[in-house]
């Protein structure tokens, strides 16, 4: 029946007094602390009354007593039985696991941003009340109007004609004709169209002028935006942005190093990938609708060509995959090929 004896220091509860002390551990796991010099009893605790502190590399593991006093062994390698975090320090000591962690961490960052958050966005959007999408759409429009947009310069007759043909198309696709209203705006951003989360579709005067002689091409662009509406891509992006920044600020706040170096770039690149996937989805649906309406998918590739040309890209320019990485939209060639592969004109 041998007692284990440990030299160390005893911190009194609630004050800075410290004594050189010895801890005696009996077979029933009770611990007695005696003053090293005077042999006066400082603490007696039975098993279950005391709690081992953290098991940290290079540091002695203290023993905490219920009143706040603690005993710290002089031997920094000594470990009390019954500690809770032994498994963490075991992982920390295994070099194979450390190498694995160095490889897994960037992989996890990537998976979270490109797979899990988009999946979360897709799954959660149907659960968000309509009023949020409405309000968000109105706020976006207000901001756009303040910063980028001016009142349209299109003649009222032309607006009415585009609206009427859009409403007819909506009807043929089985939607209420007022569900996805068109908004006309003049803007310095050039030819562009966007789907707002409240269901409205904004098109710029430049887009109307660009596709002035090609009604079907304009319709193809509008169908692309309608597809964004149908799939609620706007809300998905909003959810993704919120989820990424919550992840960024709240959950990863303790690993500042990695968030500074990897996450900053990762978040925006992954956001771009998510955006490209949504563009592809919208393209596919727009092409399908064009066919359904008895129009040629070529109308879509004509619109894409015109838009990219107006933007300054050359029609036969090949985008490298590395360049795509930094882009929010798929390459033009890919989008045109997708349209052309839909086959010859149906009529």
């Amino acid at each position: 029946m041998s007692e284990q004896v440990l030299n160390g220091r005893f911190n009194e509860a609630g004050c800075s007094r410290i004594h050189q002390a010895q801890a005696f551990m009996a077979d029933d796991r009770s611990v007695q602390i005696l003053h090293a010099v005077s042999r006066a009893p400082l603490m007696l605790a039975t098993s279950g009354q005391y709690r081992p502190g953290d098991n940290l590399p290079g540091l002695a593991q203290p023993l905490h007593f219920p009143d706040g006093a603690l005993f710290t062994p002089d031997d920094i390698g000594f470990r009390w039985s019954g500690g809770q975090d032994g498994w963490v320090s075991m992982i920390e000591r295994r070099w194979s696991l450390i190498v694995l962690a160095v490889l897994l961490v960037p992989l996890f960052v990537w998976l979270t941003l490109t797979v899990w958050i988009p999946a979360l966005a897709r799954a959660s959007v149907p659960m968000i009340p309509e009023v949020v999408a409405q309000t968000l759409g109105q706020h976006t429009l207000a901001t756009l109007d303040e910063v980028w947009m001016q009142p349209t310069e299109l003649p009222a007759a032309q607006q009415a004609q585009i609206r009427a043909s859009w409403q007819k198309t909506l009807q043929r696709l089985g939607y209420p004709e007022q569900r996805f209203p068109l908004l006309f705006r003049a803007s310095s951003v050039g030819a562009n169209a966007m789907a707002l989360t409240d269901g409205s579709i904004l098109i710029t005067d430049h887009l109307v002028w660009l596709l002035d002689n090609d009604q079907d091409a304009l319709l193809a662009v509008l169908l692309h935006e309608l597809a964004h509406q149908e799939c609620q891509h706007g809300m998905q992006q909003a959810v993704q942005a919120v989820a990424s920044s919550v992840l960024y600020s709240l959950l990863l706040s303790d690993m500042e190093g990695i968030s500074e170096s990897l996450l900053g770039a990762g978040v925006s690149l992954a956001g771009n990938a998510f955006s490209r996937d949504m563009e592809r989805e919208a393209d596919a649906r727009a092409l399908w609708w064009l066919q359904h309406l008895g129009l040629s998918p070529q109308a879509f590739s004509r619109a894409i060509k015109a838009l990219y040309l107006a933007d300054g890209s050359l029609p036969d320019e090949e985008e490298s995959p590395a360049f795509e990485f930094f882009s929010t939209h798929p390459g033009m060639q890919e989008r045109i090929q997708a349209a052309d592969s839909m086959g010859p004109q149906p009529d």
């Binding site: 009194e12 007094r17 004594h19 050189q20 590399p57 709240l250 959950l251 990897l262």
Partner: protein, 357 residues
């Protein structure tokens, strides 16, 4: 219990002792702790994060020792988890309220945030200090709402209105307020900062900035005209490099000078005083090599930079201990709401640990 009191170094003499600050953390050890923390946080979708934060803080605190006694970080993971859930709830509530608010009332939220900001700052400083202990005795912060409002928000605005001429004075007031309101075992820290010294620091920082600009013009212009025949191209190239470096250089000058000044006068009567011998050159070398390490390793050297900084600061700091340090009584009860911790993270405030480290 009446017992003879013996410190780690039994020394019955009533004179103050000068002891070094020891930082015993090791790069490899800390790297492993850090990467395992990140991995566990990720595979648990963030739920391990409070445990990671506590383990991280306890490692760094525990390896910072004065007179053979380590600092300790008292917050528990459950405490932090509750604080984070509360914080998340408040944020969600605000988002919902914001989205339901009628048009034109959005500025109201901004006003609300401004009103809450001094409270958030006060809570975060308070939490970080109360969760830091030395020899079983906690630090604490006695700053109140109005004081924080004046020193953190009002004075900087006033300073900006004077075309930043009053900024050194504002910084001095802020430091004075911050440190004066720290308590250790209920005893207040005192310090006497010199406004003139803060103007001297500002003068040095501006001098470094002007020097860098001149360097950019001359070296960039010469290099540019020699290599490309275009002086402006060289100025632009060297200039962007200088702009990146200047932040670290000026930061280092400011940190080194103010740290020495603050610690030279900071004290608790009959308990503790400090000596800081950080040099501007040493601090600049430290910051620049740390940045270089981070860039070269794509951020993986982060834990190493933490260890290097902590070791450098510890090596250049001494603590004067008076016998009163053996007789302090803890005045902080402990179980604070960790909402302040979240605020601390949000506002990037460091606590009393930053005093010596």
């Amino acid at each position: 219990m009446e017992l003879p009191v013996t410190a780690a170094v039994p020394d019955p003499v009533k004179d103050p002792r000068i002891v070094p600050v020891m930082f015993t953390g090791k790069g490899g050890e800390y790297f492993r702790l850090w990467i395992v923390n990140i991995l566990l946080t990720m595979v648990t979708f963030g739920f391990y994060s409070p445990w990671a934060k506590v383990r991280n803080a306890r490692y760094l605190h525990g390896h910072t020792q004065v007179d053979g006694h380590a600092f300790s970080y008292l917050a528990t993971p459950m405490q932090l988890l509750k604080g984070r859930l509360k914080f998340l709830g408040i944020v969600l509530l605000l988002v919902i309220v914001a989205s339901l608010l009628p048009k034109g009332l959005e500025p109201l939220l901004g006003v609300l945030f401004l009103v809450a900001l001094p409270w958030l700052i006060q809570q975060s400083i308070r939490f970080s200090l109360r969760m830091t202990a030395y020899r079983n005795v906690c630090f604490s912060f006695e700053g109140r709402y109005v004081g924080v409002l004046v020193h953190f928000l009002v004075l900087p605005v006033v300073g900006a209105l004077t075309l930043f001429l009053a900024f050194p004075w504002v910084t001095r007031r802020l430091h004075q307020y911050l440190y004066e309101n720290i308590r250790f075992g209920g005893k207040p820290f005192t310090l006497e900062l010199q406004t003139s010294y803060y103007y001297f620091v500002a003068f040095c920082c501006v001098g470094v900035l002007l020097g860098l600009m001149a360097f950019t013009m001359i070296v960039g212009g010469l290099l540019g005209s020699a290599i490309m025949g275009a002086a402006w191209a060289g100025v632009a190239a060297i200039g962007s490099l200088a702009a990146m470096v200047s932040g670290y250089l000026i930061g280092a000058v400011f940190m080194a000078m103010t740290r020495n000044h603050v610690l030279s006068t900071l004290r608790i009567d009959q308990v503790v005083a400090f000596q800081s011998r950080v040099t501007i050159r040493g601090y600049i070398v430290l910051s620049l090599t740390n940045v270089l390490l981070l860039v070269v390793t794509l951020g993986l050297a982060w834990p190493l930079t933490i260890i290097r900084s902590a070791r450098y600061l510890a090596e250049h700091t001494s603590v004067v201990l008076y016998p009163g340090v053996d007789d302090l009584v803890n005045t902080v009860s402990g179980r604070d709401s960790a909402l302040g911790e979240e605020a601390a993270d949000l506002l990037d405030v460091d606590g009393g640990f930053a005093l010596v480290n």
